[in-house]
């Protein structure tokens, strides 16, 4: 066994791909937000300048993560996770924004504890599941201590309410358990009751049944869907093959909702067209590919779980956002990693990349 533990060595391709997407994100945040920023905040640079600062901080975070020994640090992930749970409670005492208690306001900075929770959860699971004494195939060991921890965290996030993050974290952890070797029937146990419950609620009790049926119709014809979905696909469609040109999108003029956050992918698609999106998608796919490759090359179970967990988590985020924007999934508010405006999302996605880069340095050559 030969491992390299050099701080200088890391997956450069991954880093540059990340940097590329980050820069595209900055440009597109400016393009899609400038008019809204001008109208709401009096300065067309309002969102861009914030995002620019977050991007710098993200790079700093990556730099820091590259210089630490993750295996040692993850020992603290359990207490940190407990602290985050406290923050998730504190959130409820914060003023409501956009109809939800998602944000922790610390002066000028707002933080989304659910993002931190997601990140720490992956670290904690990697740390905990890589313990050789833990037999994951045993249901009892699978349920305790993860179920109460996860249940509590997800329950709080769901109550914020933030269905998008709940689903992302749930699917992320499910993926990690799968990778860690949990039995399929146990995993089904986690999945089937939820789905049955959801179906019962929707179709038997009729809760939001119309919305679900509407969603099913809208997959076939997105114009039949909600206003947001309709505007999103119209935005994408009007971009066509080559796009309207940078800055020339029309839909960001208050037609497309959240053009610089949740629906930025549509806004980008309008201006740079299908070709541009294909490049971006390739970038995302490349990050996934590198992530999995790094995971597969890890010398230990901890590294494997951490790398694949981070990659998987990024994927779930990206997948749900793209699914929503292209009308494949029902609308849930979720930012697109690296591209959407928003500090917490950018920082945590970047941290995930940072972790991957860190782990790439200890990959088995």
């Amino acid at each position: 066994m030969k491992t390299f533990r050099t701080k200088e060595q890391f997956d450069e391709k991954l880093f540059f791909c990340y940097l590329f997407i980050l820069l595209v994100g900055l440009v597109m945040v400016y393009s899609t937000s400038s008019i809204i920023a001008e109208s709401r905040n009096g300065s067309h640079l309002y969102y861009f300048s914030h995002q620019f600062l977050w991007a710098l901080m993200s790079l700093a975070v990556i730099y820091v993560i590259l210089r630490v020994d993750l295996k040692k640090l993850t020992i603290y992930s359990a207490p940190a996770l407990l602290l985050t749970l406290v923050l998730l409670v504190v959130v409820f005492f914060m003023p409501i924004r956009n109809g939800a208690h998602r944000w922790l306001v610390l002066g000028p900075v707002t933080v989304q504890p659910s993002e931190i929770f997601k990140f720490l959860m992956i670290c904690y699971l990697a740390f905990s599941l890589s313990n050789p004494k833990r037999n994951i195939t045993n249901l009892k060991q699978l349920l305790i201590p993860y179920l109460p921890l996860l249940g509590l965290g997800l329950g709080l996030i769901l109550l914020e309410p933030d269905l998008g993050s709940t689903i992302v974290i749930f699917l992320t952890t499910l993926g990690i358990f799968f990778l860690a070797g949990a039995r399929m029937k146990h995993l089904m146990l986690a999945l089937v009751p939820q789905i049955t419950l959801a179906l019962t609620v929707v179709f038997v009790l009729g809760y939001k049944k119309a919305r679900i049926i509407n969603y099913l119709q809208s997959v076939e014809d997105p114009l039949q869907g909600s206003y947001q979905l309709k505007q999103a696909v119209l935005t994408l469609g009007s971009g066509g093959l080559l796009g309207t040109g940078l800055g020339d999108g029309r839909q960001k003029l208050f037609f497309l909702p959240y053009p610089h956050t949740d629906f930025i992918f549509a806004g980008i698609g309008e201006e740079i067209g299908f070709i541009g999106l294909l490049v971006l998608l390739s970038g995302f796919f490349f990050i996934m590919h590198r992530g999995f490759k790094i995971a597969a090359a890890q010398p230990d179970r901890f590294g494997f779980l951490l790398a694949s967990g981070m990659t998987w988590s990024l994927f779930v985020n990206i997948a749900i956002n793209l699914g929503v924007v292209t009308g494949l999934l029902p609308v849930t508010g979720l930012p697109l990693p690296f591209l959407s405006y928003g500090g917490s999302s950018l920082l945590m996605s970047s941290a995930a990349v940072g972790v991957l880069l860190n782990l790439s340095g200890r990959a088995v050559k």
Binding site: L223, L234, G237, L253, F255, G273, F274, F292
Partner: protein, 694 residues
């Protein structure tokens, strides 16, 4: 150490999932961005673009002489559109100050809100506009100029024209009736708008250009209109009348030359909603005897030499008794009309027969709308009685149990004057086309023949007799020969279903000049007192109107054919006569050359002492301005000017100024003058002008 097989397999499974997902998303994008791109782009185009109306300019209105009687001016409108709270505050504070409001009230009074359009004041007064322009108004408050109607003659003719509202839409009168013609068609411009429906960009060129409204030329002669309105007011004051109204028509074409009423108690004279000359109907009384006489003459049943006994003023007919004002004895037909004998006309009418008489009234348009084109015109009332009993026939013959409006009376008298043709009263002569030509040559609109041409001559002579030695002696004028008929009818008391004992409608309807009638009209006074007779109240008012119009308009009575519309002049090629008086002739020539005004003067040097037409009159390019020049050393000596080619009116104006006696032979334009141009003029100079129509 590589990962365990299970780990690698499971990682592989997830990677397959990831790959599948990216494939699905890519295919979805192909579908949306490539196959549906065109459709979606169109929808996006539709929702982000729109049209905005561009207002069309309202047509202006000319009178028959080309005078502008309704025009458009741009007036400032103040509106607010504050962009943010800061602007809102400034705007509110400024408005508080501008309108001297208690600080803080403007905001609620004008319901100011951020990014909301609010009119503050439309049609600002001039002083306010100046102040707003002078103050640099805070951002968020703006001036915009909107087209508004202005009537250069003020209240004159307003009853015909009506008025427009603040959005320039016709509300009454001509402005309302011909609104669609005047309004034109608004144009459209493409705009872009955002999702909040804010317009943020207007494309450079209009999609559809606005079509300006047509500019009509009215038949009305504003000079006569002004005279009529003045005289009606004077008549009301002089004869203590409750109100007065009048209609004057060109009896040969049916053109409405003037129409007005005056009621001292009328409110809102600026915005008249009613033209009583066409809306108010009344029992005409004796004036109506003219139509009865027309019917009798048509029937050919009256012998002009036969005398009828007028029963010395009392005549029992059926169960009722008819009265005459005076105790009249034996009268022939002509005298019956001249002296307006109720008994005489009743006897003739009964002998003639009610049905036939009734038919002849209908031929005069009584009981029918004449459709002059203005809103609110009434039809009058002419109902056949249940039986044509002698009393019913007599009442009808005297102008009772029938109702007419002033326009009908005027049109009826116009028919008598023009040889028996009932013409539709015409308000519109045509319109000015885009090149400035007057189009729509007037054709007289014949409703029907009221009587044979042969019969009208006798009737006209009778009506002239009414003025010369009948009931309308005060109407007899030295200036113009007037013919007509008086009427003095009791006003019905509708509440008590009887007539007022001491309230009368006094009227005079007629035409002038008698020999070759040009104008027919009617003046009606409501309840004058103590003098109640039509011949002594409405009659003199009619006379003054006729006299003033004749004096003002000598040409028209010589060559009635010469009308603006028939000359299809370019209206835009007009000029305003400059003021030359007091200037040196050389300077005047320079000015004239600059402005393209043709001059006709009497001397090469000296100072201009007189000009015709006077300054500020609007003339056509082809018209000349006549100037009289006094030579510097001989102040009061003048030489004769070249008068050939001038209209009689201009030539007469010049000769009048010089104090030269003159005679005119023929009509039209001067072709020959007995005093040569350049000859000195003294007090005894007499000049003979030979004229020929051209």
């Amino acid at each position: 150490m590589k990962r365990t097989k299970r780990e690698r397999v499971r990682l592989g499974v997830l990677f397959v999932l990831v790959s599948c997902f990216f494939t699905v998303v890519t295919l979805r994008l192909v579908h949306i961005q490539i196959f549906l791109s065109k459709t979606y782009s169109q929808i996006v185009e539709r929702q982000s673009s729109g049209k905005v109306a561009i207002p069309a300019e309202r047509g202006v209105i000319y009178d028959r002489n080309g005078q502008l009687v309704a025009k458009n001016v741009f007036q400032a409108t103040l509106y607010a559109y504050p962009d943010d709270k800061k602007e809102l505050k400034q705007v509110a504070a400024y408005l508080d100050d501008l309108f001297d409001l208690k600080p803080g009230t403007a905001r609620s009074r004008y319901e100011l809100e951020v990014r909301k359009f609010r009119y503050i004041k439309r049609c600002l007064s001039e002083s306010l506009e100046k102040r707003v322009v002078a103050d640099s108004v805070p951002p968020g408050l703006y001036l915009r100029y909107e087209s508004q109607r202005e009537y250069p003659f003020g209240p004159v003719g307003k009853q015909i024209l009506g008025f427009t509202d603040i959005d320039n839409r016709g509300q009454s009168g001509f402005e309302l009736a011909f609104d669609s013609m005047l309004a034109g068609q608004q144009g459209w411009a493409d705009i872009r708008r955002d999702g909040l429906r804010n317009v943020f960009r207007v494309k450079e060129s209009a999609l559809v250009k606005p079509v300006p409204g047509q500019s009509p030329v009215l038949a009305v002669d504003w000079r006569l209109q002004e005279i009529v309105e003045e005289e009606l007011m004077l008549a009301v004051q002089k004869y203590n009348a409750a109100s007065a109204m009048a209609v004057f028509l060109d009896c040969n074409s049916g053109d409405i030359l003037a129409m007005a009423h005056y009621d001292p108690n009328e409110n809102n004279r600026d915005k008249p909603t009613k033209l009583r000359a066409i809306t108010d109907q009344f029992e005409p009384g004796s004036v109506f005897k003219a139509f009865t006489a027309a019917g009798l003459l048509e029937g050919g049943k009256v012998d002009f030499d036969d005398s009828i006994f007028c029963e010395n003023g009392q005549y029992k007919i059926g169960r009722r008794t008819l009265h005459d004002d005076k105790e009249l004895g034996w009268l022939n037909f002509r005298k019956i009309i001249e002296l307006s004998s109720n008994i005489g006309i009743a006897k003739l009418a009964v002998a003639y027969g009610g049905e036939k008489l009734f038919e002849s009234y209908k031929r005069f348009g009584i009981g029918q709308k004449l459709r002059c084109g203005l809103p609110g015109e009434t039809s009058g009332q002419l109902m056949p009685p249940k039986t044509f009993s002698p009393y019913n026939i007599a009442a009808l013959a005297m102008g009772h149990s029938v109702a007419v409006n002033s326009l009908q009376l005027a049109a009826g008298f116009a028919a008598i004057a023009n040889g028996g043709e009932l013409l539709r009263p015409k308000l519109l002569l045509g319109h000015v086309d885009e090149n400035g030509y007057v189009v729509g040559r007037p054709v007289k609109d014949l409703i029907g023949r009221a009587m044979k041409a042969g019969s009208t001559d006798s009737l006209k002579a009778f009506l002239r007799g009414v003025v010369v030695d009948g009931t309308a002696k005060p109407v007899n004028s030295k200036v113009v020969t007037i013919a007509g008929k008086t009427g003095t009818a009791e006003i019905p008391d509708l509440e008590n279903r009887r007539y007022f004992k001491n309230k009368f409608i006094a009227s005079f309807a007629g035409f002038f000049p008698y020999e070759r009638p040009v104008v027919a009209g009617v003046v009606v006074c409501e309840a004058p007192h103590p003098v109640t007779y039509g011949g002594y109240t409405a009659g003199p008012a009619f006379r003054r109107i006729a006299e003033r119009y004749t004096v003002l308009n000598p040409d028209q009575f010589i060559t009635p054919e010469r009308l603006l519309v028939e000359n299809t002049h370019r209206l835009d090629k007009t000029f305003k006569v400059p003021d030359f008086i007091g200037r040196d002739i050389r300077q005047v020539k320079d000015i004239a050359e600059q402005k393209g005004v043709k001059l006709r003067g009497t001397a090469a040097e000296g100072t201009v002492v007189w000009q015709f037409p006077p300054a500020d009159r609007i003339l056509f390019e082809t018209d000349e301005v006549l100037v009289m020049v006094a030579s510097p050393n001989k102040k009061n000596e003048f030489v004769m000017a070249d008068l050939t080619g001038l209209t009689v009116r201009k030539a007469a104006a010049l000769l009048n100024y010089l104090g030269v006696n003159y005679t005119i032979e023929g009509n039209g334009r001067v072709v020959n003058q007995s005093v040569r141009p350049g000859e000195n003029i003294n007090d005894n100079t007499s000049c003979r002008l030979k004229c020929r129509p051209c």
